[in-house]
Each structure stands twice: as structure tokens, then as C-alpha cells.
Amino acid sequence: MTKIEEVKAKVEAGKAKLVPDLVQEALDGGNAAGDILQGMIDSMGVVGDKFSAGEIFVPEMLMAAKAMSKGVAVLKPLLTGTSTSSLGTCLIGTVQGDLHDIGKNLVSMMIESAGFKVIDLGVDVSTEKFINAIKENENVTLVACSGLLTTTLPAMKETVQSLKTSGLTGFKVIVGGAPVSQEMADEIGADGFAPDAGSAAVKAKELVSA
């Protein structure tokens, strides 16, 4: 097994205490920081797929993300200049009137692990706040709107439609949350929908690469 393969295996297994040393060993062995990073991003893709398939659960996903972030911390000084977030910036938030954040946090973590820079706007995020954040941040390629409650679906619709008619460009809109469906996403004009945190990362990449 190469050092990068070892890093990948330990990220997938969520071994947060072991990953930093392995990343250092991979660097010492002459691997490029970017290649190690890509290896970890690939591992998180596997983790996301397993989560979507119901093979693993939230704790395993949290531990894998923690392992990756410990590994990235080792790489960070070497990645300055180049970016750790080649897919651009993703703004994420739970829509106005909804305070649920666990699902949103998982999606945020998985999207970050997929190679985005993530700016988390928190919960109960108004349309204005989303729009201002697009204006204030560079290279926003994705806006992710989350909602758990059936009662906040109208707020999600309003947010998506306001984003789409704001005149701002260069980003796609992805929606998700328990009451959201592909059908509903289509109806309100979102560019994408994902049923869980694992597939959100896959969809996010797909949307900005399209």
C-alpha cells in the first residue's frame, strides 16, 4: 500500500488521530501536497456514497471529515498560493424561519471535503443575507439552501426565486432537507437537489463542473 493509499484508508475509517502523521509521512516520502489532498477528497467521496447507501451513519461521516480536516491542516502551509478549494466558494444556510442545523452542517462538511471553500451563513438565513453574501464573497459558484420543516418550504421557494432573479450570476443553487424532493426543486427553479449529505457533495461537484 502506498502512503497515499494509507492516508485514504484511514480517512475513510475516520482515524483522526492517525491521519496527520500519515500525511506527514506521505509528504516526507516525496508525494505532492495536491496529490495527498486529492486522495483525501476521493476518500470523502467514498464516505459520502456509503452514507447515501445507508452503509454508514452520521458518526462515521463526522469522524471521516474530522480525519480529513486534521490531514488538511498538515497540508495547509504547503498549499498556500494554490487553493485548497478549486471548486470555488459555496454559501450554505438554512432558510428563513427554520432553525435546524444538523443536516445543514453535515452537508457543509461534505461539500467542503469535496473541494469547495464553504461559508456557513447559519440558520434562519434571509434572502437578503444570501444575496449580500454572494456580493461580498469571491468566486461564489454554489448556493446551498437547507430546510427541515414543511412550513419553511415557502421560504425556500422565495429564496431560490429571489436568487435566480437577482441579476447575480456565476453560481448554481442546490436545495435539500427532509421535505424537499426533486419535483419540488424543479418546481421552485433550483438547479439541483440532493436527498442526503453524501449525494449533496456529488451533486455540488456536478453542478459547478457543468
Binding site: 475516520g14 483522526a16 445507508g54 454508514i56 451513519f57 452520521v58 458518526p59 462515521e60 463526522l62 469522524m63 474530522k66 424561519g97 432553525l99 444538523i102 443536516g103 452542517n105 434562519d124 420543516l149 414543511t150 412550513t151 427532509a178 421535505p179 436527498p195 442526503d196
Partner: protein, 326 residues
């Protein structure tokens, strides 16, 4: 002569001859007047006796535990003894008077005197330290989590002694949400290691002390945990969502456990609700799930709806469906 609500429930869960659907929570008279405040009032916040701050923001459907650094009770799981202090259990006559009076007013032939217990052991863990911290601690500090769960279980058992002594309940309605709408929060293996032993102790204690029925609330997916529910002694799982494929569960486990729900609150209980939507969902649930081991019910964890009228409308629709099917 019609069966009483209590008899009809027993016929339903024992595979006998019910004469109608058990209509939602009708068989329970839930005693909510126990000492200690459980909920913030809408638009306010309060700190419970464990020090956990709950906030119910204006316009929201419920309260949330607050977990910023300032409010999080358990800041380091390895030092949980320093942070987590079980409150003194109220035992005075005065504090229990209202609950006792309520219990004494219930006709036990008609309904089960039902003690309400919430939150459960899993929820306590994440209320104390946030969901993310609690779930990661199961991996990172399993010994400390076992100790914390043991401590919370001891508290529940001490509380149960007082509850039983005061109310002599026939049933326990115990809340502990174990999943999201699509998945259990933790794997069955992890559940078996950490939470099954705790609940086996808690529920067997109740059963050994005269409680006839254990009703457990988890309005979520938890189909993968049903074998453990049976093992820990749950008689009725309340809150079963359609995502569990309830008819399939009934086929597989009916006779060992019964299922209460299958009418997802999110689908029927919203500002633009209509009696037609409610009737459609009630009929679907009743026809798919059948007459035994099933109680049609909104998945919400108490006998009301978030939007006025929905709960009663569902009750009427269930009565109507009973007339057609029985």
C-alpha cells in the same frame, strides 16, 4: 357492546378482535403535570435543572437546546463528571399534587394512566453536548460515553421510582428520538453497544414495577432498530414514519411490537392543511397497515397538532375509516 378504549387497544396489540381502529392517543391519559418544567414557552428561553438552555424562538414549532460555547453544558466528555450534575429529584407531596390529582381522576377501565418521560438517554447526551460532539464521542471517548450513559440511566431509574410511587401508572410514554426521517442517527451495532443496555434496564424496571405498557416515541426512521426495541421491552413504537415501510414492519414484527403512526405530521400538519389531505393519508395508512398491531396516528409526540384542527380532523377520519373497515 363496544370494547372500552383500553380493551380495544389490548385486542389490537395482542392480535385479538378489536372492534375499531385505536384512534390515535385515545387509550392514554397522559399525565404532564409532573414536577419540573419540560418546555420553554413560545418566544422564551429557560434553563432546565441540568443547566441545559432551551430556546423557543417566536414563530417556531418547538424548542431547541442551545449549544454555543457559552451555553453548552458538557464542554469536554473526558471530564463529564465535572460538568454534568444530576438534579435533585423532587419528591414532596406538594410538587406531585397536581399529577396525583390528575392520575386519580382517570378511569383505569377505560384508559391507561400514562406517565410522560422525556427526554431519553440519547437525547440527554446530545442536549448536554450537541449532536456532533455526542456522536463523535461515541468513537473517540467510548469509555467516557459509557460512563455518562450509565449516570443518565441511574438518574432515570431514580426518577422512575418516584414516578411509580406517586402515580402508579399503567403505561409509560417515553420520548427519545433515535433517527432522522430516513436513517437512524447511529448504526445498529453502536446502538446495541451504547443504548440497548441502558434501555433494557430502564424498561425492565418499569415492567417489574407494575407498568403494563411501554410506548416509545421516535418520530423518525428506525426500522433497523426494531429488533432492539423488542428486546428492551417496547410494546408500541409511536411516531413510526412512512419512510420505515410500516406495513412491512407489521408483517415482520406484529405480535412482538405494535406500530403507532404512519401518518407523517409534516405531510398533513402545515398552515395550508385541508381535511381532504388528512382523510387521504388516514385512509392510506389504515388500508395499508391493517387492523392488528397498528394504531393510526400523526407522528407528532403528543395528542395535538401544530396547526389547530388537524389532530381532530384526523381522529374523525379514523372513526370514519373504522366504520368502513370493521
Amino acid at each position: 357492546m363496544m370494547l372500552t378504549k383500553r380493551q380495544n387497544l389490548m385486542e389490537t396489540i395482542k392480535g385479538g378482535n378489536p372492534d375499531r381502529f385505536v384512534n390515535q392517543y385515545e387509550f392514554m391519559d397522559i399525565i404532564l403535570e409532573v414536577p419540573g418544567k419540560l418546555m420553554a414557552d413560545p418566544g422564551t428561553e429557560f434553563k432546565n435543572p441540568w443547566g441545559i438552555t432551551f430556546r423557543w424562538p417566536e414563530g417556531q414549532l418547538g424548542q431547541f437546546p442551545v449549544h454555543d460555547e457559552e451555553h453548552k453544558v458538557l464542554k469536554d466528555i473526558t471530564e463529564w463528571r465535572k460538568y454534568v450534575k444530576a438534579p435533585v429529584i423532587e419528591t414532596s407531596d406538594e410538587a406531585w399534587a397536581a399529577a396525583v390529582a390528575h392520575a386519580n381522576s382517570v378511569d383505569r377501565n377505560e384508559q391507561f394512566i400514562t406517565a410522560f418521560v422525556a427526554p431519553g438517554v440519547f437525547e440527554m447526551c446530545h442536549h448536554l453536548m450537541s449532536m456532533e460532539d455526542a456522536l463523535m464521542a461515541l468513537y473517540e471517548e467510548p469509555e467516557a460515553m459509557h460512563e455518562l450513559i450509565e449516570y443518565l440511566t441511574e438518574y432515570e431509574l431514580n426518577y422512575a421510582k418516584v414516578l411509580i410511587d406517586r402515580l402508579h401508572p399503567d403505561a409509560i410514554f417515553h420520548h427519545d428520538d433515535w433517527g432522522s426521517q430516513k436513517s437512524s442517527f447511529i448504526s445498529p451495532a453502536m446502538f446495541e453497544e451504547f443504548f440497548l443496555p441502558a434501555y433494557k434496564r430502564i424498561y425492565s424496571f418499569y415492567k417489574a414495577n407494575g407498568i403494563e405498557l411501554i410506548i416509545h416515541h421516535s418520530d423518525s426512521y428506525a426500522a433497523n432498530l426494531v429488533p432492539f426495541m423488542i428486546e428492551m421491552g417496547i410494546d408500541i413504537w409511536q411516531g413510526v414514519m412512512t419512510t420505515n415501510n410500516t406495513p412491512e414492519l407489521i408483517k415482520k414484527y406484529g405480535g412482538q411490537i405494535s406500530f403507532m403512526g404512519d401518518i407523517d405530521s409534516g405531510v398533513v400538519d402545515f398552515p395550508e392543511w385541508t381535511p381532504e389531505i388528512v382523510a387521504r393519508e388516514v385512509e392510506r395508512a389504515c388500508k395499508n397497515c391493517g387492523k392488528l398491531y397498528f394504531i393510526p396516528n400523526l407522528t407528532q409526540g403528543l395528542n395535538f397538532s401544530s396547526f389547530p384542527g388537524v389532530y381532530d380532523c384526523a381522529s374523525e377520519a379514523i372513526d370514519k375509516t373504522s366504520k368502513e373497515m370493521f
